[in-house]
Symmetry: D2
Subunit: 128 residues, 4 copies
């Protein structure tokens, strides 16, 4: 599990006075960027090698709202790994209490033209 | 079912050259805004009456990418309605072929302070 | 001048209860996409030809707020055109009263590697 | 001058392969949030006291692109302060070389109803 801290931006709030649910997906993306880095990979380099991980599915639960200027912890882990698929799981915490959100994102590994592409062996070895 | 057309904005793309998955949640929101309007309600007025529908859960499948300047059709329907919960289902189409994305969003009805709030009778009658 | 109508999305609001100023830049981008189309060009095709228009400067005035579900008219025109530069000017209207926002964006024409690139003759002829 | 570090998110890129210019305005907002904090204020508390700083104007220059996963430094200072107006100036740096972007944002101080509101004395004292 890799943890990264983010602070809720004003631009991420909506007129309900809370962080808009769509913004969480950018935070999850920060979470998986840092998980890869913690495993000796960068998604920037993976893309340069022609490996892309578009999101093909997601599910998320928003248990309690997040507010402007809150400091949140995004915890990310690999929840599944197969030939050309990878699934990440996320929990977002504030103040050590139970999670305020949980989610999973499922990704297909594709090449630069969007065709399915087997995950490189070194990526599988580092994340497996 | 209510259909609304949107055109993919440049700002909605990412460096993979496709619309970023987080943007779809703004499109789904446009879909439910228009569904409510088609049933004689506006979410703007509901909020003025103190009724808010924060998203408490979602699941989405991204089946094929959407590209800048694509014209998409967002089809929205009420998939579930109970005392203080409402679920919407979405399909996004391009060019009449099968959907490029499907999703559901589940909402709690809450008051301005975020407390659970039974859906007003007129809302239930119009959407039920 | 080319006019295009947009409706303020819920995701575009912030906790001040108004459309967030950063969102206007996506609307201006919609404005110039439609201006190009009205002149027989599409920015999608320009990019396929290797011509890109990154924003190198902007100035904007936000005169009155825009609210969720407002229908706005974005009016765009070419304000300047030189060898490898193009400037667009914008006004946003609601309800026919004076503009609620005005702006300019200045763009460099660059190739796919980001190097300065003279505007193609047909683009200059159509926009000049 | 207050400096804060941000890392470019994947969601902030566009299909030109660079951070989209609209995203910089969220970064500038992070910059002024941190400037206020460094001066013993939080914008969250200011809003609770009924003081809001909507953006009424901006100008920005984008000198060099920013890329996904870049670590940037946003430097913010108060460039002007009068009865009910405040102007911030920004520079964004990467790697210690010259700035990649510069900007100013001008804000009106307003109350919760959007009416002009003189800046509280303590705010003026801390920022002046």
């Amino acid at each position: 599990m890799t943890a990264v801290s983010i602070r809720v931006r004003y631009a991420e709030t909506d007129q309900m006075g809370i962080a808009h649910h769509a913004e969480y997906f950018a935070w999850f993306e920060v979470g998986r960027t840092e998980l890869l880095r913690a495993h000796g990979l960068t998604y920037r380099d993976l893309e340069k090698r022609g490996v892309h991980f578009p999101v093909v599915g997601t599910e998320a639960r928003f248990l309690r709202p997040a507010f402007y200027d809150d400091v949140l912890e995004v915890r990310t882990e690999v929840a599944g790994l197969s030939g050309a698929r990878i699934t990440f799981a996320y929990e977002i915490y504030r103040d050590g209490t139970g999670p305020i959100a949980t989610a999973r994102t499922e990704h297909a590994a594709v090449d630069t033209e969007g065709r399915p592409h087997r995950l490189p062996a070194d990526v599988r070895a580092r994340l497996g």
